[in-house]
Subunit: 488 residues, 3 copies
């Protein structure tokens, strides 16, 4: 096997037309040496705090990746190699909370059998980058190469330069923000800080579970919050105080932002008395749906109020119905690929927060969507008007070349480039971080190259813009709150 | 007139950029010899059973084609050749149930006068293919060429090689599925089977009229169903039994699928008692709107249950408001171009069926939409997760090059290629079947060529995928139910 | 400074691929000598009636342009040159009804500092055209060139060939329609007519304020209408008569069309008695929201009825929530960039008018949208069926190259070219009229060039279509009502 056999084309994902490709290459080159600023990720901070070797290729690359798992499961009953390889559910690929396949080589073989199913998807592009650029894999996955690849990757993972911190530095990551429950003790982040990594890896404050008063576990979450803060979360005032306290703790640990994932982006506040009454009822029993939604909307407004006060950037990820397949969730757990978007409207939903804080110099709101119809209709007009609002990068299903091209085409004419907030990789898959940023930079270079080729922008403006999209905007969109202790 | 004057460019609808065009040509060539599998059509089985010569060009190509008729009618009051040619309504082109123009030559002249109105539409491309490739027409339609073309086409239609079965074989059709009311006797299919055509032409079970309990004709439909099956459709159990009986009859006649066209894709089942009560009320009088919708949703769930049991693929075509122009419908009948799409949401609507049967090895659901916003937001995420779900080809207004390109760009990154179900032509216009499949293959070759040119896919993968999109996926997405009698 | 340094590329906004660019150039050239027909604008007729010199560059180009102002304000709190230049709100750029910056040079410097924020927007392209083609500006705006440009432009504005009427003629405008409140006295138009400009500049009847019975100022508007017409607008019949009278006055002044801007496109009429009752209640106090919406819908139906009778083309611009930021509106006034689109559905909303008048030979409806999702789903199917309906050009946020390309791609396959109504510039910025038409012609030439390059259309058909899109369709879509007095 010739180890030089598998190379990625240096112009991959750039436009095919030769003139545009040459421009795109020059624009892309301007971003080549820029560090990665990853302001919204899902890597477990403990991975970097422990810095232990990754155990095996399947556990690292397949089992935690819901993009891969869902695609292979979606072909589980169709005639073909995936069904023949024995994939019936996420468990057969090592994912989920029930009994799962535990033999990494078996999982890896199934993944290799399913490789053709990833054609045309971003997972294919990310994995190619990971396999070739990170691990020097000699051949593409297939049933014939599965074992060879498994052994190759296992060999690499055993080497010290493939430990998490070594990879972090090799990837050129300047700043990585993790996502952490509001009730997380931030113990891993404390260890990182103690090791001098506190300016490189920071937490993000995610209080979703504390704001959903319609869920059965809400009261337990509040009890946990109370225990952690020593405040009385049985009262509405104590609940708000405890949220503020945790935000302060996150800020002290380096956090730049909060993150909010709810079905609706509604931010309508309740009258004070109504909010107190709902809270009191919720302490007794989970709220019915309409009340629960109203309470969450009210709390999102409170979060904006706190952000305007303490400087944490507010991130909204909405419009996804979680656990669409409830039987699968009951059997295999959450986050296994059955979260499905719904229609989402922002114009009226964000109005309360934008009218109140949209011009506030210290309030920053970054909004993400998986409903593309809102781009040109609502989000770009809003971001092109309110100083506080920035558009988040194409997220989740939209974190892919075609969707990224649609995003730029849909929002730029109304919101420009400066009202977007830089790329976020949103990934649990640590090794895919550079692949994802590379792909986004290629997509943006392609868009900009077309503007240059069509004489809508000068080349120097395009390279300057590419640097902003790849680096500066992400850095500037998430300023450190006033209370942050920067080590350096 | 030089008969060689009108030729179609062999690279039509392929990308203009020379590098991509060369790739697209190679990919397209890989599909050139593939037979046509047409799993959702509206050709009348009697046309093939009778195998009589088509009477004239207007009756064959204009009067039954609502794409052409609607476009010409839409220009009926604008200054120009269509108004001058005397087109006021569908009737002037021979379409509809009221009094219509009956002189084929007059209709044909009107059509030729309106030819420029079809610029940029798929009808233009289909008709060019039909005229040149099927009929060897020497010149494009225009007022000056109308009579010459009419005579040329009439001459051809009189020849035996232009009879339906001869054309069917010339077109390379391997399998043609017609669409048939659930209460159809399938007499034409029986004749075809007797002639040895039973494996080439199969029916599709369409029970819409039996599931819409808000329509005034519903009870008559049930009486017809009762008479045909000998079962008591006055009772809910008898009604369900009769539906099952007709499904068995269709399976025996070779059917692979059911087809369901309702305004909403809602599949929420009712509680047993509620369903029985609604049925009983509907037997007395048409249900009010909300109840009628709930009953249809319940029955779609029952159809899924029956499909999981008997193996008929379930096809959903929803989101169209039929007879938008009720005065025109009253005057000229249905299906004359006034069916207009509405916003459609699938995430919650399909949840009941997908939670129940989404992983069932013998349940297959193919969903079509005319609301493109659902592609990337809902349908691709659902199809990329549930094994039972396949996405139908771009349908109706979306069966066109630009819309097909948008479809692939919107769904592939999330659902891949394998979760789509192959092209369906959905046509009443028998002679356009090869034109439509050709156009779809060109659109897919163009999409794949771009992926190759951008180094996102290898050329051999692209040709392999093109074959799947053109043939294999359609064949595999509609497996024969266990009870099917295959003659061969 | 070399005055020859700043030139616009003659092929700007045409496709980059050389073959398509050559075709696009040939298609575009066919439209080069065509006059401008601008059937929907917001230039103040008094500007042309007075024909006074424009005072200064900032008052002409910056302060009245909500596209520019909103973009600069949207960057007011971000680190960068706009914040540093002192932009906090629209007032700092001279826009709004409160106290505003009044020094033109200060405003101009702020605009020049913000120039990079316009990258990728149509404002950038329009302004380049205005600066270079209209004013011969030697360099692009920047902090370093701000004063030089200000002086250059001021010098030009003092010259007689830069007065409004001279520019009008230089721009090659054949017909300009302004937008005028139904209660406007049309005094400026009378002066234009007296000067022989009556066939060049015509009013458009805009009765919005008279149809919104939920607004506090509605009764005052009716009183004004009564005073102007001498009719009793205290009664429903008098109100309708007064509207008819004003329509006649507008027709006498040359009007071709009405224009209607409401949140919803609903056109459902009320029963006669209900309408009378609502009117009577509204005379007492502003109607609550639901009633106000129903009344507006009813009145839109009445407007259609009057249009079918008097021949004024009916234009609908809907789906925008005005004054999203109510605090900013209170401080700085309306139309300052905070009007944000919402989801809009047309299929059911337009049904009453289309069923009643959709085939009427003298009724013409032009519908605009800022919700692109309706293009392929609803508007193209409707326009491709009903003779009376034409699709308006991409409007407001969608009046931009990418959005125009999406519009043609989305609607042409279903509605063709002939069911669109030509470009409208919709601008308050007089000097940008030729820039906007030029950009639209480039976008359409690019779309047509691709069809030719892909062998979907012949070149002569494409140039013929380009002429229609640039000129003929706009002229023909707005025929003069029977009562119009044409001077010539």
């Amino acid at each position: 096997m010739d180890a030089a056999a598998w190379r990625l084309h240096p112009d991959r994902v750039l436009p095919a037309e030769p003139g545009m490709r040459a421009l795109a290459r020059r624009i892309l080159d301007a971003t080549a040496s820029l560090p990665i600023v990853s302001m919204h990720g899902h890597v477990d901070a403990a991975v970097l705090a422990d810095d232990a070797a990754f155990t095996d290729p399947a556990t690292l690359l397949v089992a935690p990746d819901h993009y891969i798992v869902r695609m292979l499961v979606s072909q589980a009953t169709a005639p073909g190699p995936i069904r023949d390889a024995g994939v019936r559910s996420a468990a057969d690929l090592g994912m989920g909370t029930g009994p799962v396949e535990t033999d990494p080589r078996t999982i890896w073989r199934r993944f290799c059998a399913g490789w053709p199913a990833l054609r045309g998807t971003p997972s294919r592009l990310w994995l190619e980058h990971v396999l070739v650029e990170v691990f020097g894999a000699p051949v593409a996955p297939s049933p014939a190469t599965a074992d060879l690849l498994f052994d190759h990757l296992s060999d690499r993972l055993a080497q010290p330069e493939y430990r998490p911190r070594a990879l972090f530095e090799r990837f050129g990551i300047e700043l990585l923000a993790t996502t952490d429950a509001a009730t997380d003790t931030l113990e891993a982040h404390a260890r990182l800080r103690a090791d001098g990594w506190g300016d490189s890896v920071v937490p993000t404050f995610r209080p979703d579970a504390l704001l959903e008063a319609g869920r059965s576990g809400w009261r337990d979450e509040l009890d946990r919050l109370g225990a952690l803060t020593g405040l009385d979360t049985g009262s509405y005032d104590g609940y708000l105080d405890a949220l503020r306290a945790r935000r302060r703790a996150f800020i002290a640990a380096g956090a730049r932002a909060t993150d909010h994932g709810h079905l609706s982006p509604d931010t309508t506040p309740l009258a004070e008395l109504d909010a107190r009454a709902l809270f009191a009822r919720a302490r007794q029993a989970p709220l019915p749906d309409a009340d629960a939604r109203a309470f969450t909307a009210h709390m999102l407004f409170q979060m904006a109020l706190m952000s305007a006060d303490d400087g944490l950037v507010m991130q909204l990820h909405t419009g996804v119905l979680r656990d669409h397949d409830r039987p699968s969730a009951a059997r295999h757990g959450h986050d296994i690929g059955f979260d499905i978007p719904v229609q989402t409207s922002f114009t009226r939903a964000l109005r309360p927060v934008l009218e109140e804080f949209g011009h506030h110099p210290d309030f920053h709101l970054v909004v993400f969507t998986v409903d593309e119809t809102a781009y040109s209709r609502e989000l770009a007009p809003l971001a092109g008007a309110y100083p506080a609002l920035r558009l988040g990068a194409p997220w989740w299903f939209l974190d892919a070349p075609e969707a990224m091209a649609r995003f730029r085409a849909a929002v730029t004419e109304t919101a420009g480039f400066g009202n977007t907030s830089g790329f976020v990789d949103d990934t649990r898959a640590f090794c895919s971080i550079p692949a994802r940023h590379d792909l986004a930079r290629r997509a943006d270079a392609s868009f900009l190259a077309r503007l240059v080729a069509e004489h809508r922008l000068d080349l120097d403006e395009a390279t300057d813009t590419a640097v902003a999209l790849a680096y500066t905007l992400a850095r500037d969109a998430y300023p450190a709150p006033a209370g942050t202790q920067v080590t350096a």
